[in-house]
């Protein structure tokens, strides 16, 4: 049985690194893994998504609508944009952090209110303010690893050693804060 995780957010939030670490953990666990990213024009301040699929043998690298088991949204509105990819029985992990897109910044649109409430009404939603928690630890940039920690709790992998994988994939001087971030997410 192939399982699918969709990570969505905005460029600069550390999504690519998160999915790379996630993929390594799933490989450690003994799964076949496929992962898909979007590059180029789509990256310049636009939405960023990565798709991670794992199981005994994975075919399609991309996830169909209603087929993701877990959706991890690094930003509120992005959760809304990609919610249709989540299985109605799946889990949404959402960081209630707002990043204005260009039409909002220039006043052509307003950032929509009530997103989290609407999502909570539709699907099993776990809200974790990773951006705030990351600031408390000392650097907003570790918000991604806090979300990864929360995701790890749902994955409940038996063999993967997350600490070792984090240590091997993060620059040495940032390891401590990232380990702390992972722990924060895991225990949130």
């Amino acid at each position: 049985m192939t399982r699918s995780i969709l990570l969505v957010g905005v460029g600069g939030q550390g999504i690519i690194l998160t999915s790379k670490i996630l993929a390594k953990a799933l490989i450690n666990e003994g799964f076949d893994v496929k992962m898909s990213e979007v590059h180029g024009m789509a990256q310049r301040g636009g939405s960023v998504t990565t798709q991670v699929r794992y199981g005994e043998k994975v075919f399609s690298p991309i996830i169909g609508k209603g087929k993701a088991d877990i959706l991890v949204a690094f930003e509120e509105m992005e959760a809304m944009r990609y919610i249709e990819f989540l299985n109605p029985e799946g889990v949404l992990i959402v960081n209630p952090h707002r990043i204005h897109s260009a039409p909002i910044s220039r006043g052509a649109s307003k950032y929509p209110d009530g997103i989290i409430d609407e999502l909570k009404n539709k699907v099993n939603t776990v809200v974790i303010n990773a951006s705030e928690e990351a600031k408390k630890i000392g650097n907003i940039r570790v918000q991604n690893i806090i979300l990864l920690g929360k995701l790890a709790k749902f994955l409940n992998l038996k063999k993967a050693n997350w600490d070792d994988i984090l240590k091997n994939n993060i620059k040495e001087k940032y390891i401590d804060i990232n380990l702390k971030a992972f722990e924060t997410g895991l225990n949130f």
Partner: protein, 593 residues
Amino acid sequence: MKTELLSGNEAVARGAYEAGVTVASAYPGTPSTEILENIAQYKEIYSEWAPNEKVSLEMVAGTSIAGARSICAMKHVGLNVAADPMFTFAYIGTEGGCVIVTADDPGLHSSQNEQDNRYYARHAKIPMIEPSDSQEAKDFLIKAYEISEKFKIPVLFRMTTRVCHSKGMVTLGERKEPSFKKYKRNISAFVSTPANNRIHHSQLEKKLKEIEEYNNSCSLNKIELNSGEIGIITSGISYQYSKEVFGNDASYLKIGFTFPLPRDTILNFSKKMKKIYVVEENEPIIENYCRMLGLDVTGKEKIPVEGELNPDIVEEKLLNIKNEFIKINEEKIVSRPPTLCSGCPHRGIFYELSKRKNVAISGDIGCYTLGSTEPLNAMDTIICMGASISAAHGFSKAFEKSNQKIKAIGVIGDSTFFHSGITSLLDITYNRGNAAVIILDNRITAMTGHQENPGTGYTLKGTETPEVNIENLVKALGVKNVETINPNNLKQVNEALDRAIESDEPYVIITKWPCALKKLKEEEKENFKKIPGIFKVNREKCRKCKMCLKAGCPSISFDENIGSIIDEDTCVGCSVCAQICPFDAIEREGDQL
């Protein structure tokens, strides 16, 4: 055996290494760029960025004729640029194996069209191989060299965005030690005169028949027999989508060697099936071939020609199953279009162009394509690499004939100018045109993720090299009016634009400032000194006029109650907004308030 999680592009690079390739060349283009970036990591392979795809293909053709294995890689539209040498290279053939990688972009993730380059194999009469995942990208590439050398013909290796940019597990192998053929001059074999190539054409037709025969028993094609009810004929990523949807409920003929198609294999497989689907992305190429063989197949009447394929489409169109998914209030989703970055050196020029009346702006391929988006809207047309300048020349001639007082302006980046803008500018000077040209020199090939180019002073391998002086180059092409300005200085930009628009002669403005995301080299830190400090809005002076928003900077937002707000985390201090503000309300932090 060691396994690694590799993208399709990384796997192609690994394949080139294992196949004993010694020479590689490319021009960057999404989704192909990482192929050469990764090949460059292998010290055994000479690798380079060529100024354009045509040059890269010609370069590796030379390597092949000289007897060594070579590879070039490009995005789908790059193959249009390289088509000229490819067609004739097919006639004269290879000595050392040669693979041309085309990375197609169904769905136009980052391209100006979604052309299906499988047609090129048929048109140029060269074999085509299509992997469906990373492991195959590596294994099939190694096989491609065997085929290239066996039949003395270049091989077109077709990837698509999802194969290029998806990662999968790959089992690594050892590098085959390169074997070089001793070079000997052979005029009748390698000189493309009409007399020689009449013979080569006839040989090529014979080769294609032999290759088709070979392909009927080639290991690159795979039959998976399950039920005889449904048979799916497919190739590339479409195989993965079919398998995802049908699993073991259908039988598969997965074609890895897709030109010339394996006639007997297709006929034998089809005989055993009651119903045959051809699942392919974009054009009905395998489908049309099946029909030519007299087979009753279902393909494009169900699967759309346009757009990227995915498992949902296969499921809905062939099985009539629509997935349940969560429906939400779409009003709660605001678009998040790509924008020029904070501090982008292109912003000043497009902001000033956006205010000009009676100009027609012909744009080009690169980050500055975003000059066409809200709120700048400073563009009239974009066609392809290099077309900004030549199309501007065409605009100017039309305006001249129709007596319209509109100034034609071509806007092009540094790398794109080297790629194919130089000859376009020559068209203007040679023919005494008067279109103005702006060359946006941001010291890097930015859109594809920061590759070096002939103007940066470094090669793909990071070696120092003489840097092209664009101003001197432009002068050598016959342009008398050239000036280099700092695009973050709006006064300079405006004055230069005035002069260019008024001029009756070819006029070139070069804007020189590094991409805001570029990691500057020591000498660049010296040449492009940034004044330290970011900007903030002085609340007492801000009159909420929203003028600063017209620059479209992602660091600036507006709140009716507060006024303009500059995000201190992302502002890089370019000062463009401060120059726009009519009330001097935007001030550099640290300056006296």
